[in-house]
């Protein structure tokens, strides 16, 4: 339809009339709004100002109580304890200096606490209640209650504070909570954390934060003019966080930590059947309670200054070359690929030559092991046997076989901060370092050195698969989550996959176990120190990873941080394994057989026989370590 100019003119003026009418209506609307505003803000201002002054109804968040953490037998690892603190709302206090002086007469208030409060005052948000004194005792609470009419704007705040009754025992596995920092605020839902001051920072406290935290509640309270709560009007209670039941056995954990003693290192004990982590020790350790109240800068510096990183959870974050502990796995690979047979012998004269290299690789025993087969090679940890085996197996088949055991990939254990380690192969080297693969590197990988690195937990998992004759387990730290409200409902947290590593000849599993038993039980086994008066069967393998390239003849002269790491992997009883143990002792005064194996034996004794006598002997220094010769896995140079 086409319209004439005349029609368009008419349309335009019609619409314009309506626009004007709408404009008038808008002005009427705003006038109506302004009338209401004038009524509220001018006419009734006094009324509302009074209401505001003594606004009686306030909505407060109620923080939920954090879930407890228990060990597998119900021992408490983390709980909440009531604690009182004095908080002040600056806007409600007539004169802060006077208030501080007067409060100082009633309860103890150090200059540092005063300064700290004044400092917070400058950085605070308006109308925020600031802590003035924490950890008031009952007496002080009572004193303040008597005098509270003198101090508007002051309140005693009762809250639950995290407490770790076991102290340092199991500290790395459990982790700790600390004050919510600006960094934490960026990744959490603020409204869910209203009223909450602490958040999990490490260990399961961090990994299971969501489960432990619970849901914030709300209460409506009636307050007086000073903001003090007179009574609660109604309440939407918070939902407590769920409790975690860990797989840890705190007694075994303690045994593992005592067995390590003052040595830096890690112990992991697994139940090979379920993947339950029974113990996870990391030395040096720390007291998690230090973090709850907030740690001073000096105290933190003190921890850092030791240089040994006590906060690092070594079982999952420490990377070590597996060294000779890889030999059973490499041997198994070679058996499977028919590179060796059970009776294949290699002659060890102490050296091994690789094409293209002038310097030979050496066995730790300068004069060699003579004719050596697989069982003897594992038991006596003969390097030449495994140089030769690895060389003939080749890096591709070796790394392909080792991969399903979990080397080079995270175990996906349910706690934070795990590292993945390195399973060296051609692909990895091209990506990480560039360049081709050398025969010498294959040979070194065959004895767990070179680029190879694992976490103690990875080694434990691989050992558990060996103990299970191929059944794969996933390590886990949390066994069940218990509903914080209705205590009886329990559900399991993780399920173990039923995957297996299938061998062409299952008899090779038994042969490998036999070889590892020989390492402990045979008179020439590298772990024979712990084989005495053993009334159950223990399969094990020692390892020693040199830290420096040059080899000193006398250990005494080597500075501590350049001494070798001692390793041990094992499981017991060998026929029907109940426990897998991995021990790493950093910069040990001896090899795997002398420094690491006794720690493992102390742990298996406690678990299998409930017998602490070996542990006590070890602690008392009654285990004579000098009778074992020091194997040294690394030949002169680490790298070709």
């Amino acid at each position: 339809m086409s319209l004439s100019i005349r029609d368009q003119q008419q349309d335009a003026s019609r619409i314009r009339r309506r626009i004007v009418a709408a404009g008038v209506l808008c002005i009427v609307g705003v006038a109506g709004l302004m009338t209401q505003m004038v009524r509220l803000q001018v006419v009734d201002h006094h009324h509302y100002a009074t209401l505001s002054q003594e606004n009686r109804i306030k909505v407060n968040p109620i923080p939920p109580s954090r879930g407890q953490i228990l060990d597998r037998n119900g021992n408490i690892l983390a709980e909440n304890r009531p604690s009182y603190q004095l908080v002040a709302t600056p806007e409600r206090i007539p004169d802060i200096e006077t208030m501080l002086d007067e409060v100082g007469e009633i309860i103890e208030l150090t200059d540092a606490q005063r300064d700290g409060f004044l400092n917070r005052l400058n950085n605070s948000r308006h109308f925020e209640a600031l802590p003035l004194r924490t950890r008031l005792d009952e007496e002080e609470v009572a004193q303040l209650a008597v005098h509270r009419h003198r101090f508007p704007g002051l309140e005693v705040d009762a809250r639950l504070v995290r407490h770790y009754p076991q102290g340092q025992t199991g500290s790395h596995a459990v982790g700790y909570v600390g004050r919510i920092t600006a960094q934490d605020l960026r990744r959490i839902d603020r409204s869910a954390y209203r009223g909450t001051n602490h958040i999990g920072k490490s260990g399961v406290e961090h990994a299971y934060e969501q489960v432990l935290h619970g849901e914030v509640g709300v209460e409506r309270v009636e307050t007086n003019a000073a903001g003090r709560v007179l009574r609660t009007l109604d309440r939407h209670p918070p939902r407590s966080g769920d409790d975690l039941i860990l797989t840890l056995d705190i007694d075994l954990q303690e045994a593992a930590e005592r067995a390590l003693g003052d040595h830096r290192g890690a112990v992991v004990a697994l139940d090979p059947d379920s993947g339950d982590i029974l113990a996870m020790a990391s030395q040096p350790d720390y007291d998690p309670n230090m973090f709850v109240g907030g740690m001073s800068r000096e105290r933190f510096q003190e921890l850092e200054d030791t240089g040994w990183q006590p906060l690092i959870n070594r079982p999952i974050r420490g990377l070590y070359p597996p060294a000779s502990t890889i030999k059973p796995f490499v041997g198994l690979a070679a058996l499977e690929h028919d590179v060796i047979r059970p009776d294949t012998e290699v002659h060890c004269d102490g050296t091994y030559h690789v094409e293209g290299r002038d310097e030979p690789f050496r066995c730790w025993r300068d004069w060699g092991h003579g004719e050596t087969d697989f069982v003897q090679g594992v038991a006596e940890s003969c390097n030449v046997f495994f140089y030769d085996t690895a060389f003939r197996l080749g890096i591709d088949r070796m790394s392909e076989f080792l991969e399903p055991f979990g080397f080079g990939t995270p175990t996906r254990v349910d706690t934070s901060g795990e590292r993945s380690g390195i399973l060296p192969n051609r692909d990895w080297k091209r990506r990480a370092l560039g360049g081709g693969w050398y025969h010498g590197e294959t040979v070194l990988t065959g004895i767990g050195l070179g680029y190879f690195s694992t976490t103690p937990l990875q080694l434990a998992r691989a050992t558990a698969i060996l103990a299970n004759q191929g059944r794969i387990v996933e390590p886990r730290l949390v066994q069940a989550i218990r509903d914080g409200e209705a205590e009886h409902t329990t559900r399991t947290a993780a399920s173990t996959p039923q995957e297996r590593i299938e061998l062409n000849d299952p008899a090779h599993w038994e042969l490998t176990t036999e070889a590892m038993r020989a390492a402990v039980e045979h008179p020439r086994g590298t772990a024979r120190l712990i084989g005495d008066d053993l009334d159950y069967s223990l399969a094990g393998k020692t390892g020693t990873a040199q830290v420096t390239e040059s080899r000193e003849d006398d250990d005494e002269k080597v500075p501590e941080h350049l001494r070798s790491h001692a390793l041990f992997i094992g499981f017991a009883p060998a026929e029907d394994p109940e426990i897998v143990v991995v021990v790493v002792v950093e910069n040990a005064e001896g090899g795997g057989g002398a420094a690491a194996a006794p720690v493992a034996r102390a742990v298996t004794d406690v678990w299998v026989r409930d017998d602490p006598s070996f542990l006590e002997d070890l602690e008392a220094g009654r285990i004579d370590e000098s009778e074992v010769e020091d194997e040294e896995d690394a030949p002169m140079e680490l790298m070709p």
Binding site: L3, I15, R18, A22, M34, M37, H45, I57, R125
Partner: protein
């Protein structure tokens, strides 16, 4: 600033400033929008308890809004007109899709998850419906014939019903308003308007019993008598009025509102942000804010009056009036004049999607003003 011709002076050359002819922006409107948005950021900073991190989010959203405005201002109204039925069709399809696949957001089905962001089809409908109706009525008789009015009413009713059952009463109300404004501006007879109002009055009981959710009924009851339930639903209105009233003539000062900072004001950074304004800046602050809103609406209506064809006139008028309804309903709700329907205060309340829609609408308004032909 503005040098355009007087309304009605047809055939006289339209003179455009550089800002208008090159960037297709309108200086007065842009300045007023920017002033309100900047003021809004300052108020939010206070409402968030001086938390810059969250305030920064709003700054980012406002920036996005201005980008949307700039983009929409570049589209000539003729193009928009061609797109109108398609935009409406897509909007309807998305509304239907939200019923089928919508994920639950805030207890109501309102969103479509695009993977990288959540999209609210109801927001698109705020623009699509007036576009469609302006397209429908522009080329025909003004005022429209009854058959066309009926068709328009159906086009309004369907999307509004779909939005209302999501349930999002506030948005449904706005979408309906944007459609009725087109009809109103097109010269719908007063008999129609009065008759419709009477019909709506009669339908209210039906709405009450068969359509409204419990919480919506509670809001209406609370509105009628907030003191009845001071701790339940009435709490919002009572606390809001206390905050506003205690602000007095000049307010308690920026960052000094005790009601806001002690968290007495509910939803103080979203729907009830005006209570924070009133408490901290007093009657003077509220009056100035409303004055700027009025300038924005007035400028919008002026642009509608200057427009060169019916489509542009109707669209520009509807956009301006819908914006005004936003302000009126929100301020009325916060000050206790209207029931709580959950509409943000435009350009001030914290929140992204409605902000972007509003800015896009003002972009269209500017496009209408600055794409006028110089001679006609």
């Amino acid at each position: 600033m503005n040098t355009s011709a007087l309304p009605g002076s047809r055939g006289v050359g339209v003179r455009l400033s550089f800002l208008q002819s090159r960037l297709h922006l309108d200086g007065l409107l842009l300045t007023a929008l920017f002033a309100v948005a900047a003021f809004g950021v300052a108020v939010l900073y206070s409402a968030f308890g001086e938390d810059w991190d969250q305030t920064r989010n709003q700054v980012i959203r406002v920036s996005f809004g201005f980008l949307a405005l700039f983009a929409c201002a570049q589209i000539p109204p003729r193009t928009l007109r061609r797109w109108a039925p398609w935009v409406f069709g897509v909007g309807m399809a998305l509304l239907a899709a939200v019923m089928v696949t919508g994920v639950i957001g805030q207890g109501a089905q309102r969103w479509i998850d695009l993977g990288f962001m959540r999209f609210q089809p109801a927001e698109l409908m705020k623009l699509a419906l007036p576009l469609m109706l302006a397209w429908l009525l522009a080329d025909h008789d003004i005022p429209p014939r009854p058959r066309r009015v009926m068709l328009a009413l159906v086009l309004i009713a369907v999307p509004v019903a779909l939005i209302a059952i999501q349930p999002d009463l506030g948005t449904a109300l706005l979408v309906a308003a944007s459609g009725f404004f087109i009809l109103f501006l097109a010269g719908l007879g007063w008999r129609w308007i009065l008759g419709g109002t009477a019909l709506a009055g009669a339908a209210a009981p039906l709405l009450w019993f068969f359509v409204m959710h419990d919480y919506q009924r509670a809001r209406v009851l609370t509105f009628l008598n907030p003191e009845n339930d001071p701790l339940g639903a009435g709490y919002h209105i009572i606390q809001s009025k206390i905050a506003i009233g205690s602000g007095g003539l000049f307010g308690k000062g920026w960052l000094n509102g005790s009601q806001a900072h002690l968290e007495f004001i509910p939803e103080r950074h979203t729907d009830f942000v005006l209570a924070v304004v009133a408490e901290e800046f007093g009657l003077m602050g509220v009056a100035q804010l409303l004055a700027v809103y009025l300038i924005i609406v007035g400028r919008g209506l002026y642009i509608a009056a200057c427009a060169q064809d019916n489509f542009s006139r109707l669209l520009a008028g509807s956009i301006s009036l819908t914006f005004f309804i936003y302000v009126l309903v929100n301020a009325g709700m916060v000050s206790g004049l209207l029931p709580v329907v959950g509409l943000p205060l435009p350009l001030v309340s914290y929140g992204g999607s409605s902000l972007v829609t509003i800015m896009a609408a003002f972009g269209i308004l500017m496009a209408i003003h600055t794409h006028r032909r110089l001679w006609s």
